[in-house]
């Protein structure tokens, strides 16, 4: 079986697995976030932390919770890194230097997992387990919680006293004198000022449930599967072994499988080892490779199901997931094609661009992993993106520039796509001659302001960061390549940080005070500001009573709308980043 056939089979298997789990996983998440009961362990946590689990939060409160929790997380992780030499299981490593500790703390809190260090030579087991792995769970959970809050805002409808009687209206010729009076009475009685009705849920409850009911159970299972596949799970330190050639090799052990599971499932991507999923202890075989790819796509591709169910219309979820799927498959096909057919001497000779790929996986499975990891905000790698063909690398860059929406990170993919849907509905709605509405909620100036701020943030961060870095002679020196490829490396770094992806093109020395600080800030703002704006948008939607659907309403579940949404996503990104891409990978990849 050739590698290409194997690759095609792998893709087919992956798609089948995602399709099969779309419903159960999505439905499970729907139940988790709409359940009125609390588990005993959850109640214990709420009692310990003083949370009132049944009180709703309006968007500013929800957002404050997210911000406070995130900033405290950064602080704790930073401290843990700094003092690891004084704590057990430190493996004798020194405390992490302040710029790197800051960068790493932000990186793991923001679900970016950009690593300016190599894990096996910097972090002790305690930091890996109590710091990084914990943040892997929490940052993923924060993302999902925010997405669910946004969905609640979009789908919230206040209880209508008696107007919920759709069968009675629109009945031609019905003598409606009595009916009209009845409806008027109902309207007068309903809509009282009793509750504000615009709560987005409770952040602490969402966070707790995400960890306990979704992430932990799946990750325990996944870790066992990975161990079965050959991943290691121990608390050993370095072992020095004699190699066959008579030399010595230091092999670091550790709790790898447990961290690997959440690294993929929570779309985190921070590897235990420097070479990440190319390391045989993290990703031992080609089937674990496929399993890891599945894990990192599973939540993001299933959340639209939960969204559709919360919206009371599964087709809305299907529309969103199809846009994600179309973009993902399209991007993968293009990227893989660039890797497979390259007119360079070596790729022509061996049949594909093999440079930088792990021979255990081969080119197709490396392309697949690379596409999946850049399309989600994972950033785990099993091959060296810097060595991809220029246009193959451009595809990976483009994946991240999409804003991590196809399918994106855990939660962040869904809310990113929903913001895009709002913008698309706005323009499309105008074109059908109505004040635009999505899921019955009108998109006014307040909502569009939040949406505009949301989609401004990441391009601003990525482009400004790149521009400044390229303008400073000292930071340019960090590039290991010159010319267009060097530019691509810097562009990739800032795009990855701004979109909280965390994958590295590599080929650039980023463990400097400037890069650690700048990328840290980019990651922080690239995570928290969009969350703030999207929650603001949700809060503003939550206050609205939905408009009933009529024949004049723009249907947002049809292929027509899905197609337009995909086109808007691609065109917006293309227009924003085309000049920068032209001087980077395009300049390198297009030959006259």
């Amino acid at each position: 079986m050739s590698t290409n056939v194997a690759g095609a089979l792998a893709v087919a298997l992956l798609v089948a697995a995602l399709v099969i789990t779309y419903r159960p996983l999505g439905d499970h998440m729907y139940r988790v976030y709409t359940d009125r009961r609390h588990l005993r362990i959850e109640r214990a946590i709420y009692r310990l932390t003083g949370v009132h689990p049944d009180s709703g939060q309006r968007w500013p409160v929800y957002a404050r919770g997210v911000l406070a929790f995130s900033l405290v997380s950064v602080l704790l992780l930073y401290l843990l890194e700094r003092v690891q030499s004084h704590l057990p299981l430190g493996l004798g490593f020194a405390g992490v230097a302040p710029p790197l500790a800051w960068n790493t703390a932000v990186s793991f809190m923001t679900n970016t997992n950009w690593q300016a260090y190599s894990g096996e030579s910097t972090m002790g087991h305690l930091v890996q387990m109590a710091g990084l792995a914990v943040q892997n769970f929490l940052s993923a959970a924060v993302g999902i919680s925010v997405a669910i809050a946004v969905v609640r805002g979009l789908t919230r409808r206040r209880a209508l006293a008696s107007a919920g009687d759709p069968g009675r209206s629109g009945d031609p010729g019905r003598p409606s004198r009595g009916g009209a009076a009845g409806r008027a009475g109902g309207a007068a009685g309903g809509g009282g000022p009793g509750s504000t009705g615009d709560e987005l849920g409770n952040f602490w409850v969402d966070l707790t449930r995400t960890v306990i009911r979704i992430l932990l159970p799946v990750c325990v299972l996944a870790a066992i599967v990975l161990i079965a596949g050959g991943a290691i799970q121990n608390l050993h330190g370095d072992r020095v072994v004699a190699t066959l050639a008579g030399g010595h090799q230091t092999i670091t052990g550790g709790p790898v499988a447990s961290q690997e599971a959440i690294k993929e499932f929570g779309t985190n991507g921070g590897g235990f080892y420097n070479v990440n999923s190319a390391h045989p202890f993290e990703n031992p075989t080609s089937w674990t490779n496929l399993f890891e790819i599945y894990l990192l796509l599973a939540i993001a591709f299933s959340l639209p199901r939960a969204f559709g169910r919360m919206a009371g219309d599964r087709r809305q979820g299907l529309a969103i997931v199809s846009v994600m799927a179309v973009l993902a498959l399209g991007s993968f096909a293009i990227g893989a094609a660039f890797q497979a057919v390259h007119h360079g001497t070596v790729p022509t000779a061996v049949g594909a661009a093999t440079e930088g790929t792990e021979t255990r996986f081969g080119v197709p499975n490396s392309s697949l992993f690379a596409s999946a990891t850049t399309l989600t905000s994972t950033g785990a790698v099993n091959s060296f993106h810097d060595s991809y063909t220029s246009l193959g690398g451009a595809t990976l860059l483009f994946n991240m520039m999409l804003g991590e929406v196809a399918p994106g990170g855990t939660g962040s993919g869904l809310y990113g796509m929903l913001v895009l849907a709002v913008v698309t509905v706005f323009v499309a709605g105008l074109m059908i001659g109505r004040t635009p509405e999505y899921l019955g909620k009108r998109i006014g100036s307040r909502e569009i302001r939040f949406a505009a701020l949301y989609f401004l943030i990441t391009p601003i961060l990525a482009l400004l960061g790149t521009g400044i870095a390229m303008g400073l002679p000292g930071e340019r020196a960090g590039m290991l390549n010159s010319g267009a490829h060097g530019l691509s490396e810097v562009l990739y770094a800032f795009t990855s940080a701004a979109n909280n992806n965390g994958s590295a093109f590599a080929g650039i020395g980023v463990n400097t005070t400037w890069y650690n600080t700048a990328l840290g800030l980019v990651m922080l703002f690239g995570r928290l500001l969009p969350m703030l704006f999207v929650l603001g948008m949700a809060g503003s939607f939550a206050r609205q009573e939905p408009v009933p659907v009529t024949a004049g309403t723009l249907p947002t579940h049809r292929p027509q709308f899905a197609g337009m949404l995909a086109a808007v996503a691609v065109v917006l990104v293309a227009l924003t980043f085309f000049p920068a891409l032209a001087l980077g990978p395009l300049a390198e990849g297009i030959h006259s």
């Binding site: 009076a181 323009v427 391009p459 601003i460 390229m470 309403t553």
Partner: protein, 775 residues
Amino acid sequence: MSTTLIAPPGAGGAPRDSRPGAGPRRVGGGLLDPRQLLRGLPDALRKLDPRTLWHNPVMFIVEVGAVFTTVLAVGNPSVFGWLITGWLWLTVVFANLAEAVAEGRGKAQAAALRRTRTDTIARRLTGWSPGDPLDAATHTGQGTGSGSGSGSVGTAVSGVEVAEVPAPQLARGDYVVVVAGELIPGDGDIVEGIASVDESAITGESAPVIRESGGDRSSVTGGTKVLSDRIVVRITQQPGESFIDRMIRLVEGADRRRTPNEIALNILLAALTVIFLLAVATLQPLAVYTKASQPAVPDSAALTSHGITGIVLVSLVVCLIPTTIGALLSAIGIAGMDRLVQRNVLAMSGRAVEAAGDVGTLLLDKTGTITFGNRQARAFLPVDGIDEAMLADAAQLSSLADETPEGRSVVVFAKERHGLRERSPGELRAATFVPFTAQTRMSGVDLADPDADPGRADPGSEEGMPRRQIRKGAASAVVAWVRATGAPVPPQLGEIVDGISAAGSTPLVVAETTRTSTSSAGGPVATRARVLGVIELADVVKTGMRDRFDEMRRMGIRTVMITGDNPLTAKAIAEEAGVDDFLAEATPEDKLALIRAEQAKGHLVAMTGDGTNDAPALAQADVGVAMNTGTSAAKEAGNMVDLDSDPTKLIEIVEIGKQLLITRGALTTFSIANDVAKYFAIIPAMFAGVYGGLDRLNIMRLATPESAILSAVIFNALVIVALIPLALRGVQYVPSSASALLSRNLSRYGVGGIIAPFVGIKIIDLLIQFIPGVG
């Protein structure tokens, strides 16, 4: 039954009735006259003032860029630099021109309105209250039509004084007396008298209308002219707040405030502008680096060792930011209001126009909107022994001189159904027509010659006594008339009359008496009276209404018919017209309740109204269109006034509202889609010198980097001018489902927006490449 001699314009008049059946293309606008562009030029230049332009962020940035390139071009002159600078300035001017032209149309209308607001002298009554008698000094002959009364000052009988004051000094609550030939000095309600008024100054309709105290036809508008009689008007406006004042401000755009949707779109455009500004600004360090890494490449007009030249950088920004929609946005809004004005509808705010596009429920009054304003003959039902043709003939004869719509409908129906030709009253010289009076409750005709065929009356035989009398009228009156001659009334008549009444129609009984004499003079005369039958008068649904309501349904709009009829009648008409729902025996309270209920369900509600009773409902509705014939209270409560008082216009208003939003959306899409081609023009022009491979992106094969950039800038400017007519006219709107509309507009303005600039830029490049220094 109408007591006015002259029907108010638009109250179900025949000319308008053909319109609903017209083709799908209805909403249009005036054409753009090239002279308008020229006339708008001074205004466009005035708008270059940055303090004005600041309100349009997109164009403000273009202006800043134009200033910047001017400085650069002065410092380092080149043909290319000056051409770019010139076209950047033109881009701003074109944008201003679009707005100026849109405003110019309104200004012309305002000027016409101002002429009506001349210095009217009002005769104010002091010490008078409604009901008091008025002195003859204030009274001039009826219907003289001359301005003879204007100079007279008189004292009234019981201490009432008349003083001449300039119209602007009138305050709310003042009473003024206006006689034939005078202009009404201000908006108000007639409290005494009846007059025919020429309202052509504001409606453009030359037929005079009847205004009278009390009821729903009591309001008068300042600036209109009394043609007959004398009226006393209570002023209801504050000085300077008259209807015409407000109209002038509206059409001039002085009161123009941005609508919610316009604000939202502006935010989106501002965000796009920021993104593109940033994409270009951050390109500079990348370009510097790129150039530095290829030291062997010589400097070009676009790229030097200092990076991209200022002129090219500004060109790129201007081409990318959404200038097309930014330039046309305010023109679209103004033109939308203007299109309403052209249809004689005054919207008090742009917000109301936008809301019209969102309307989910239309409340339509049955009478005048769905059915003709008056009942019409629908059937002739003869009693036993009478031939239907005979009844028809008698009915037509009795109605020949009856100028009421009901009477005319009988004539027309007899002609259509029974082939009886329409006879003009003059043909029957022997006939005397008996008009309807409130006492007799009948009308009819007396014919002198009973033997001659009524159709060909013989003018020779004239006698003192009529030989044949035909009467039609209310059942009780006609029955009494027949019984008075001693003739029996067939019992069957009662059944027919009751049956018609039960179905919601109106019965008119027709009867005749004939005298027969044996000798030519003074012989015995036999009088025979008999009931012939009944004319059924019914509401007739206007043609084409069903299609229109089907269209509404496809657009997602629910139609509800409002009527004072009983539920049974209402149901029959609602089914015939094809409305979705109806409200029978509707009181003003019911209307208000219905509107609130619809709004509670999230629908926007539109309605028309004219009476004071309608005022609360008009105020509650999201789009309340008051008829100009209506009361001041109604006009005050609604947010639109229809000067034609045509209730069906509500449907057009909805379409104009939709068209306004569609035009915005279409041009936004077009504007953004344009950017794709501009990138393919400019990016290779800038960097192909450094990276030869990027020349493959020059898929239009533009001649030189300079010509490529200049072509993009010129296209960007020209497309604004090219789209001004579209912005003013609005994109074509065909009522259809949301999906169909979206597909149409996406393919037209989205796909078209991608393709058009490739073609346009290539053509411009083919032309300008011959300019030395560019090609």
